[in-house]
Structures are given as C-alpha cells and as structure tokens.
C-alpha cells in the first residue's frame, strides 16, 4: 500500500510463481464461483419447486373459502379464516407503523440529519432491526396478553408494527436522502413552507421508492411467524367483530403463518397438505409483491 520501490524487478512474491500456476489458480476460483452461484440459484429454484409441487395440490375452491378444519379426520376445510386474519393483523400493523415510521424517517432525513439525537435514533433503529422477531413477540405478550389474560389479534398487530417501525423509518430516510438537495432549496426559495416542500416536493419526487419501501416492509412482516406465536395465537374460527372471545381485540385470531406451523407439525396428511398450500400462498404473495413493486417502481430505486 505504501511507497512502491523504484526498482525494475517485481516484488519477490510475484516473481516466484509461474504464469501457468497463476492461471490455474484463477481458473479454479472461477469454477468455484460458478459452482457456488449455481448452487445458490438451484437451491432457490428447488425451494420454490418443492413448495409449488406440494402446495398446488391443496389449492382448490375450499382452500380459499372454508375455514380451517377442527376435526383431524376431516378432509374438508381450507385456510380462508387464516388468510383473512393475516390480512387484518398485518393491515392494522401497517396502519400503526407506516405513518409513524414514515414521519420518523422524515425527521431523520429532513430535521435531525446529523444532530446528536438523530444519530442516536438512527443507531437505535438499526439495532432494533436486528432484534430477533421472537423477542418482539415476547414483548407484545408481556404488554398486551399477560395483563389482559387473553390472546388477541391486536397484540399480534402491535408486535408486527414494532418490527415494521424501524424498517420503515430507515427506508424512508435512505430514500429521502437520495432526493437532490436542489429540489429542497428551490422549493424553499419559492417561499413554500418546510412541510409543504417536504410532503409536496421531496416525497412526491421520491414516491416510487417510498411506496416500494412501505410495500416491502408490509410484505416482510406478513410472513413472520415468531411474533404471532404467543400473541395472535391461532384459531379454527372466523374472526367476528372487534371484542368478545372471537374478536380482533378479544381473542386468538387465525393467521396463515401460525396455522401453517401447527398444521405442518401435525401427523395428519390432510393437515400437512393444507400447510403446504398455505406456504405456497405465502411464497406467491411475497415474491409476487416483490416482483410487482420492482417492476412498477424500478425508477424509484434509481433516485
């Protein structure tokens, strides 16, 4: 790295090796890289293939319209109540976390910047993103389930919102930082208020990226299982209303991931098939949304 000697002879460690050996090493590494990359791609293809093959069998009208079977000998039933439950739980989580996280990101990018508070918030947000999701589940259990003496879909939503919040804040910040400063300056020079510039100019310019970020944050938590294990639990019934033992706030709410976990661990073939159907649904939804936002808002990424 430091000063290169002015001699014409190359350093000793380069002189000693023959060109043949160097080329052989080079080729070996290249071959290993290719094998490694193919290994990765094949592993992913294999994963998706297994889920599709095993899950497609379960997909029929009943899967999307009937609730989960309660009788182990039954060959009826579907995942409809779990699908609805996951959508509601994730939706409520998004309602809590997306606006808060977005504004938090605005704070980091527009107001806090490199100040001491913002730096601390940024660092803490990064740390929170690395906290295992099961810990967040334990937290929601301790706050909302243990004192109230009953499981609830809302506790699940809070856990998911907790996971989403730092992700949303940091994504928003990163995307807003990509917007050129000239846009801010010209907005302010026009005499517009700061909040109008932020929301009407900067966020508008970055909306593709913001929507992508929010969607990916939602999709990411929609597939979470661990935070729901002791919060939303699962239920063979439909969620009805808000309160009461089968309501969103009042009792366990069926959801895809926990139901998949329970069913896949059960010894009954029909339950296992349903679990694969659920896994396929999650993969289709998650990968589908990922591809969709990438296609729609690819421009947003380039900002």
């Amino acid at each position: 790295m430091s000063a290169v000697p002015e001699s014409t002879s190359p350093p000793a460690h380069l002189r000693r090796r023959s060109i043949g050996r160097r080329k052989a090493t080079d080729l070996t590494v290249k071959i290993f890289s290719w094998i490694g990359a193919w290994f990765g791609i094949i592993a992913m293809g294999f994963l998706v293939y297994e889920v599709v093959i095993r899950g497609a069998v379960a997909w029929n009208w009943a899967f999307f319209t009937q609730s989960t079977p309660q009788d182990v000998t039954s060959t009826q039933g579907g995942f409809a109540n779990a699908i609805v439950g996951t959508i509601v739980i994730t939706g409520v989580a998004a309602l809590m976390a997306i606006p808060t996280g977005f504004l938090g990101g605005v704070y980091l990018a527009e107001f806090g910047r490199n100040g001491r508070v913002a730096t601390a918030v940024r660092m803490i947000a990064n740390v929170v993103m690395g906290v295992p999701s099961i810990i967040v589940g334990v937290f929601a259990f301790a706050v909302l389930v243990k004192p109230l003496q009953h499981y609830s879909g809302f506790a699940g939503s809070v856990a998911l919102a907790f996971i989403m919040l730092p992700v949303m804040a940091r994504t928003t910040e990163d995307i807003l930082n990509l917007v050129p400063n000239e846009l801010r300056e010209s907005g302010l020079a026009m005499g517009a208020a700061r909040w109008k510039v932020t929301l009407g100019v900067i966020c508008k310019a970055a909306r593709g990226g913001l929507i992508t970020g929010a969607t990916l944050a939602i999709v990411r938590v929609a597939g979470e299982t661990a935070p729901l294990l002791f919060t939303a639990l699962s239920s063979p019934y439909w969620m009805t209303g808000l309160f009461g033992p089968s309501g969103f706030f009042g009792g366990p709410v069926a959801n895809l991931t926990k139901t998949i976990y329970d069913f896949s661990a059960s010894p009954y073939p029909h339950f296992q098939t349903l679990a694969w159907g659920g896994a396929l649904l999650i993969i289709v939804a998650v990968l589908g949304m990922n591809i969709l936002v990438r296609l729609l808002f690819q421009r947003g990424k380039e900002w």
Partner: protein
Amino acid sequence: MSTVDLEVAPSPSGPRGAAIAAPRGHKLRLGDPLFRVLATVCGITVAVAMFGLAGVLVYNSWPAITTLGTKMLTTVAWSPTQGEYGALAALAGTALSTIVAMVIAVPLALVIALLLVELVHPAVSRVVGTAIEMLAAIPSIVYGMVGLFVIVPYIQDHLVPWVLSTPLGNVPGIKPGLQFQGGGLSIFTAGVVLAFMVLPFITAVSRDVLKMVPQVTKEAGYGMGSTTWEVMHKISMRYANSGIVGAVFIGLGRALGETMAVAYLIGSVYTDLPRSIFDPGTSIASLIANQFSEATRTLDLSALIALGLILFLITVLFQILAQAWLRRVQRATGGRA
C-alpha cells in the same frame, strides 16, 4: 412543553414575512413547527420503543433473575418440571448452529458476490442478484417446512451415514454423542438451512461493497498483468475487507435469533449439551418458541422471558459491534462502504 415553545418561537421573525404576505402568513407559521414536532416525536418513538422493549423484558424476567440468579448461566438443562432452568444447552446450540451456518454461508456468499461483480455480464448479474434478493424475502417458516420435509430425510438417510462411514466420523464434534437420533433433526441440519437464510444478506451486502471498489484501481491491477483472481484477492477483497466483515456480522445477528426454521429442525433436546454437530439440541429462540405455551407457573414464564433477555442482549451486542465497525470503515474510506 416543547410544543408550546416551538409554536411561539417563529413569531419574532414574523414581521419580515408578515409585511409581504400578511393574510397567509399565520397559517404557514403554525404548520411548520407542528410538522416538525410531529416528525420529531415519531422519530424519537423509534428509539423509545427499543428502551420500552428492554424495560419490559427486564421487568418481566425479574422474578427469575432474583430467584435463580446466575444459576441460569451455569446449569445446562432446561427442565422446569424438575426445577432446572439452565440456559447452557440452548446457548451451546445457538452458537454451534450459527457457526455451522456461517462456515457454509460466508465462503459461498463471497464467491457469488465476486462472480456477480467481476465475472458475469452486468445484465446476468442483475438477474442473478435479484433472484438472490428474492431468496431473502421468503419467510422463515417456508425454509423450516422445506427443511423438515425435504432436507431432513436426505441428511438422515444419505449424508450422515456417509460421513460417519469415513474417517471423519471419529473426529470429536462429528462423532455422534449420547443424544444422537440419526442426524436428521440436528444442529447440523439447522445450520445448513440457516446458511441458506443468511446467504442472501451476506451476498447482497458484499456485492454492494465490492462494487464500490474504484474501477481505476482494478484496471491498474489488470494493467500490471494480474489474473482476475489476483485482482479480486489482492485488490477488491482488501479494499472491501471491512465492509465484508460488517456484512458477516449482520448475517451472524440474523442466524443467532432465527426462530422458526431452527424450531423445526434442531431436534428440541433441552437437557444435554450437544457433543456433535449431528446431535439434536436447541437454541434460545426455538426453546422460547416451543416452551412458551407450556409455561404455566410464574417462574417458568419469567425464566423464559429471561432467556429472551439474554438473546436480546447478545443480538444487541452484535448489532452495536457491527454498527461501530461499519461506522469506522465509513470514516476510514470517506464514503459509503
């Protein structure tokens, strides 16, 4: 209180604007501080949430901490019915499965990242890169299921018998221990699946870091007559070294706390230290997941939450190390590494 301060504050500077646009001025002046306060509150919420989480964990594990003290960290077995609340078996399982995962994932991630940056056409690189990012989006429960139904039988029927028939089978750490159940549900299987779960993260970050290596530097290497590998090894890797270490830390943090896939695969033996990677065991996260619903007494629950606190502290420590490391790197390279 700060709300009041901020709402009043703009008025001294008011007259200048008011002289030009008196009718609209008032509305604007209220909107700005309000927006600022709202955003600041939301930003601080993110930080407060973390302290709330830590506080709740400590508060709820307090009964266990006061009753059991350091016994949790010095006893092996987790068996609440016999009054044993040891975390060592779970800690060992967590560490071993993470090590297995990193040993597989890090080299693989590095060769893939090198390939994406140096060897293939940019278009191919983009497609493969996207495919690998997709791998990261697949929920852990799907990895767990595929692991349980597809990989476990393969490892149990083919890989483990083969490994044990070779001289490797007598090496300590590979030689089956007392709890050996065929090797299908084992720390090794959990580690393999974990490897595939953290692979995309390490690959993606390493790729981004390697991309930051200035083209001129690499071209200088080629100009000196270096082969591709020599440029990668002696220039790119050295340049991107610290960034890659950061990437590994991030992957490590994920592997440590992964719950569902491990809960499916690690075999759930709570009472003994694993003697071999093919032994079943447990990890902290999967122990919590599996035992939580069975915790009936206050102490059981509190001890489980204390386990959660231990895991929380370990991951926070790793995250802070990773953050500090990456910040140091950023300062050293003067850019976004």
